[in-house]
Structures are given as C-alpha cells and as structure tokens.
C-alpha cells in the first residue's frame, strides 16, 4: 500500500502542492481550497505540510452520521452522494486534514494513486511511497507530534 509521507525539513513553503490540488479538484488555483495545506510563517521560521494521514481508525468516518465515509484499500474516502455537508468531519479531524471552504468539504483521496501534490513538489518534501515498517513509524510519530503541537502550541 502506498501512502503520502511528509518531510517538512525539505518544504520551502511554496504551496505548489495545494495549488495543484485545487486546480485538479476545482479548476481553480487556490491554496486554501485543497486537501493539503501548507502551514507557514516566515517570521517564526517554519513550513509544515498538513496532509490526511488516512487513519486506521478515522474520526471523520467514526462520527459521520450519514455513513458517507468508508475505507477502501487503506484509503479513507468520502461519498459525495451520501454526504449532506454538515462538516462534522472537518470540525473533528484532529489533524485539520479535512478542509472546508465555499460549501465544499475537501478530503484527500490520493488522486486515485497519482497524487498531484507529490507531482508538483520540487524538493521531495512530499513523497508517495510504499508502506514500510520504518516509514509507518515515522508517520505515526509525526501524527503524534502534530497532536502534541496542537495541544501545546
């Protein structure tokens, strides 16, 4: 199974990933309307890509009262036909990975195995790799670290 892996130390903050995502999904260039968000602050000196971790036990799925979410081949997918747009998933996702703007709910589906964010990243800060034990450890650690930053900013 392939997943997205993030290397923030290589992220330059340029947002080509999120602009490509919005262009592919909505036909517009808008880094705020994408399934990947770059949190950046040049004064506090950080660039950090926020992606969907495709959780094993996803909160978006667990709390969806319309059962619009399902896990297919390890990818957490939202069924637009079932979704009524309540945005509970976006509110509850602890990683801020489900975004909502202009009545749209945006959730990463890994572009059917060809993630645009990875394609347009110029530094390798985003990589689409086969899952290995080591990578999984790194990914989990990053998720934990993210929750930690959120709890103690």
């Amino acid at each position: 199974m392939k997943y997205l892996y993030v290397y923030p130390e290589k992220c330059t903050g340029c947002r080509e990933c999120s602009i490509a995502c919005s262009l592919k999904k909505f036909g517009e260039c808008n880094p705020k309307k994408a399934a990947i968000t770059i949190v950046r602050d040049e004064f506090n000196r950080y660039e950090f890509p926020i992606i969907c971790f495709q959780c094993e036990d996803p909160i978006c799925l667990k709390f969806c009262h319309q059962n619009a979410y399902q896990i297919k081949d390890g990818i957490v997918l939202r069924d637009e036909d079932k979704c009524i747009g309540c945005r509970l998933c976006a509110v509850l996702c602890p990683y801020n990975a489900v975004t909502t703007i202009d009545d749209e709910i945006i959730k990463c589906d890994l572009c059917d195995g060809d993630p645009k964010c990875v394609k347009y990243c110029s530094t390798g800060a985003l990589q689409y790799l086969d899952e290995t034990e080591e990578l999984e450890k790194r990914r989990k650690k990053m998720a934990e670290r993210f929750l930690d930053i959120k709890a103690n900013p």
Partner: protein, 609 residues
C-alpha cells in the same frame, strides 16, 4: 473568475472605488510592470513632486501571479521615484501578490495622501482604509507580525521606519526580506502616510483550461528542474554570482576603486550561515536563504554592496548589515552604493567632518551599521545620506565623478560593468536608472557558452566575446523586451529565457501558459510587441521628465579608469565605442538619435485604452 479587480484608493478623499481592468488593456500590457507603467504614464502629470499627493502608487500583480505556473509570485510597485525623479518601479516576490489575487484583486492604485497614518485592509473583494497609529514607527518585521496577531494570517506589504522618514531609497517590504527595493517606493508609502497593506483572500483564480495547465506545468517543471543552474540556485542562491564576478575581476570594490575582493564572501562560505532554503509562492527554485542570524539572505547584491563595496570581509557582518537594511526598510543596493561613495569622498577630502560629523572609512562595520540607523531616522549625517544621489548639489561637482549611478539611481548590480560591454549598455539605458534587472544579458558572463546557443537567442552576428561592442545592442534589446514581458506576467526572472539560462521560459512557453490560464491566444510576435510597448511607454514617461541621450550614460569611472585586477585588468568603456553602441540601440528601438520615442509612436501609445 480568472479576472481580478482593480481597486482605486484615494487617501485624501478616503474613497475606495472598485473596477475591472478592460481586457483590451490586458491584451496590450498583460499586467504587473506593463500595466503599472501604462497607468503611471496616464495618471501622473509631468513635473510633479514625488512626495506630493499628486503621485500615484501602484501595486500590480502579474497576469499569471498566484497560479500553478512556476515562480508566479511576483508583483510590481510603481510610482514616480523620489530618488530619481523619473519612472519608479520595482519587482518583488514573496506571498503578498498571490494573496492579493486570492482576495480578488489584480491591482491597487493609491492616490492622494492620508491626513494621519493609515493602512489598507484588503479581504475578499473589499478594501478598507484603517487607522495605523498603533503600527507607525514599527520596524518591518514587527509591523507584519503585529498585523497578523490583530487580523489573522494576512500577507503584508509595508514600509519601514526609513519609508516613514522619507528616505529617498526606502523600500517596500513583504515577509522577512522580500522587497520592492529600488527607486524609493517605501518613501512614497511614507509620504502618503500609508504604513502597510494587509491582505487575506479565500477566492480562487479560475483557470480556463485546468488540465492543460496541469500538463504544461508538469513539462515546464521538469524542463526547469533539469537545468544545472536551477539546482545551484536552489542550493546556494544568488551568492553564486559573487564568485563568478569576482573571478573575472568585476566585483565593485570600495566604490569601484578596485574590482576584486575577498573569497571569504564566496557562496560556499555564505552557505555555512544557511539554516534552510525556502521559496516564494509557487516557486520551484527556492533561492531564499533563511540565515542563522535571524533573517533571510544575503543575496548577491548584499554580498557585493554591503561587503566588497564597503570593504567588509566578514560574512557574518555582511549578513548583519543585510538584516538591518531589511528591518529598517532600506534598499540594499542604494545603501551600499551611497555609503561607499561618501567613504571615498571623505578619503579624497571632497567632503569633511563638517558634513559627515565623524571620520569615514572603508571596512568599518560599526560605522556602516550606525549610519544605516541614522539614515533611517534621518539623524545628523544620516539626514544628508537619506537624500541619496541628490547630494551631488551639497557635496559639489567633483563628487559626481565618484558616484556609481545612472539617472540618479545608484547601481544595483555589484558587477563592475567595465568588462562586459552589454552590461554597461544595459545599465545606461534601463528605464529606472542603473539597474541590472531590466535588461542584463547575464549569459555574457558565461564565457564558454557555445556560439550557436547565443545565435539562437539573440540572432546572428554577435561575437562570443563579452568585451566586444559589436552587435551588443541586440543582446540588450532582446533582454529588455523579454524581461518586460516576464515582469508583466508576474513570473520570476530566474526562470526567464536568457536571464540565467538559455533554456527557460521563452515566448513559446509564455504563449502556452497564457492560453491555458485565460484562453487567450497570443502569437510570439504579439508577446514581443508587449515587451516593446512596455519599454516605449516607460521611455515616454522618462522623456516627459526630460530624459534624453545625455542621460543614457555611465559613471565617469567606467569610462576613464581602466580596471586594475584579474582577467578584467586594463578594461574600461571607450566613449566613442559606447556612443556608437548607443546609437545602434536607439536605432533598433526605433527611437530618435537623441533617445526620444518618435511622435507617431507616442500618438499610437497614447491612444490605447
């Protein structure tokens, strides 16, 4: 909407008008620098004082700014320059311009003058004029962070203390070090009591053919990433150019008394101060250094002009001066040139302590640092230095001979232009004064570039010898035109064909990118015409302010003093040859022999709407 809005803000009347720019004008000038120059020509009456309420200050994004197109982060700030009294225009990267597009605006035109400090708050299709009393007197980082604290994650363009105090070479800043640095546009902000523009937007830029843009950019990205120069710029940034110029013996040193300086400022040394390389919006080159001394930079310009030109060898000190200029909102190019000028004038006894208050000398970091602060606050001798090249009157006629400036604008390029003749013609004719980013055919510096590559870019008949005057008008003409177009598109010059590499975005690529974004079909010739139109309207602005052939010249030193060190030793600019080169340049431009845009052309461009 691919189309954004035009916001017109009259600070005197506290009135905001929101309009659309007609498509007809965009087809002629695209956006960015091109449209800014069109508006400057049409909105500014000749002879006005740049600090009066009659001056017009424009923030204009490029045609493709904020899109997936690589390096499309740029905008131009334009006004009549208080430093030169002619066209003032400066191009800038960062995140401000993309955000302005996402807020629904392509361009802001600011007229009049506020009665008290204000800032503009631009958010999703609206513009508000707000009180800036809490932000006045703040350094550039402070004001941007405070605005973010108060308004959320806004992108800000602001002036520093230098701009508030009308230092004639104050810059407009965004982020840690991105600057619309040249021509004193930060002082125009200060004169209008406009501290900042804070922008936040959630609107997208609608793309006419999204799949076509995804495909084009994928190909273009691969093309650019495969170039050697991209990876070098991404690893070490522009300081690379310091070593290139220094090896040649063409680094302006101690106000161009010398032409080579220490290897201690080479890129590999600067690299040891870098924490991380970062990028502007949509950038795939990422040449910005986040330095370990709490700032960003230094660029090649800072390394040269705050290092070699001031006689400073220690890279840490150069970086500190660089960071100080950024905080105060001073243009690094003018700062380094003006300081070195007065250091030499003092050494030569042309000015003395009556004016300078203290002894001036090269190589004195503490002195340079102190003077930068004094300039920004207009204290004592700083108040004099803040007048930039206008000090010729105070310092006396002899002082002109040592001034490295053209048309009142201190030279930006740390490159001493006595060796490469095309560089010399470029700074002599650039529309804002002595500046390398208007038309420098950088490829001239790469001595081993095959002749056929140059022939393909510039046309045949140009000798592969940078010291030859033959046909160099063609290389400058080509560069001047294509850089005007890339500035109008809002794309960084670093990926423009002929700037650093012979293989980047050329007219063919521009056509494709414009088409997928807007659906508009341009021919290569149409794009060349855009470039020519921009150059001509800028020249018309300058002609109207009295600029003619006699102003298209070089610092006296470049003509009369041969260089003394390294490969460039013995080289200078021959007055006769230069004069002939200038005549040939005017001829291909279609200007009169006196450097004036011909009447028919003026009539044609004045009729455009």
């Amino acid at each position: 909407m691919f189309k954004g809005k035009l916001g017109i803000i009259d600070l005197s009347k506290k009135k905001v008008t929101i309009k659309q720019t007609p498509d007809s004008l965009k087809k002629l000038f695209l956006g960015g620098r091109g449209l800014n120059s069109y508006y400057l020509y049409n909105m500014i009456k000749p002879g006005i004082d740049p600090f009066s309420s009659d001056n017009v200050l424009i923030f204009g994004t490029g045609f493709l700014t904020g899109t997936l197109v690589p390096n499309s982060s740029r905008f131009n700030v334009s006004a009549k320059s208080p430093e030169t009294g002619i066209l003032g225009d400066s191009n800038c990267g960062g995140y401000f311009a993309a955000e302005l597009r996402y807020a629904g605006f392509e361009r802001l035109i600011i007229k009049g003058k506020a009665k008290k400090p204000c800032y503009l708050y631009v958010i999703d299709n609206t513009i508000e004029i707000k009180d800036a009393k809490d932000y006045w007197r703040m350094d550039t980082t402070d004001v941007q962070q405070t605005l973010r604290r108060d308004l959320g994650h806004v992108e800000v363009a602001c002036c520093g203390v230098a701009g508030e105090n009308l230092v004639r070479f104050a810059c407009v800043r965004t982020g840690v070090k991105n600057a619309a640095g040249r021509c004193g546009l930060g002082a125009v902000m200060g004169s209008k009591q406009l501290k900042a523009i804070a922008v936040r937007g959630t609107q997208g830029i609608n793309i006419k053919y999204p799949e076509e843009m995804l495909e084009n950019v994928e190909q273009l990205k691969e093309y650019i990433m495969n170039s050697k120069i991209t990876s070098i710029l991404g690893n070490v940034g522009t300081p690379l150019l310091y070593e290139v110029s220094n090896t040649l013996g063409a680094i302006r040193t101690k106000n161009s008394q010398l032409n080579a300086w220490s290897e201690s400022l080479n890129a590999d040394v600067i690299e040891t101060f870098v924490e991380k390389m970062i990028g502007c919006s949509s950038c795939i080159v990422h040449c910005r250094h986040r330095n370990k001394l709490d700032g960003e930079g230094p660029e090649y310009t800072a390394v040269g002009l705050l290092g070699a030109n001031l006689g400073i060898e220690d890279p840490a000190k150069v970086i500190e001066l660089n960071n100080i200029c950024n905080e105060l909102g001073l243009d690094i190019s003018s700062s380094g040139t003006i300081l070195s000028w007065v250091f030499e004038l003092y050494e030569k006894g042309i000015i003395n302590k009556k004016i300078t208050e203290e002894e001036l000398r090269f190589g004195d970091f503490e002195l340079a640092k102190k003077l930068l602060y004094k300039i920004s606050r207009r204290e004592g001798f700083g108040n004099i230095l803040a007048e930039s090249t206008k000090n010729v009157e105070l310092f006396g006629k002899k002082s002109v001979d040592y001034l490295i400036a053209v048309k009142g604008l201190p030279q930006s390029d740390p490159h001493d232009c006595r060796y490469i003749k095309a560089f010399a013609l470029g700074i002599a004719t650039a529309s804002r004064g002595a500046d390398h980013l208007r038309s420098r055919p950088t490829l001239e510096i790469f001595l081993r570039l095959p002749q056929e590559v140059k022939d393909r870019i510039y046309g045949k008949g140009i000798p592969n010898d940078p010291t030859s005057y033959t046909a160099k008008e063609k290389t400058v003409y080509f560069s001047d035109n294509i850089f005007a177009v890339i500035d109008s598109l809002g794309i960084c010059k670093f990926i423009c064909h002929g700037f650093n590499s012979p293989h980047f975005i050329d007219y063919e690529w521009m056509k494709k990118l414009i088409h997928c974004a807007s659906g508009w079909t341009f021919k290569e010739k149409d794009l060349q015409e855009v470039g020519k139109r921009v150059i001509d309207i800028e020249r018309m602005f300058n002609n109207r302010e009295g600029i003619s052939r006699e102003d298209d010249t070089l610092p006296k030193r470049y003509f009369d003093e041969p260089m003394t060190l390294k490969i460039a030793k013995g080289h200078y600019i021959d007055r006769g040859e230069f004069d002939k080169l200038l005549t040939r340049y005017y001829k291909i431009r279609g200007w009169t022999n006196d450097g004036i845009v011909k009447k028919e052309r003026v009539k044609e461009l004045e009729a455009l709407a």
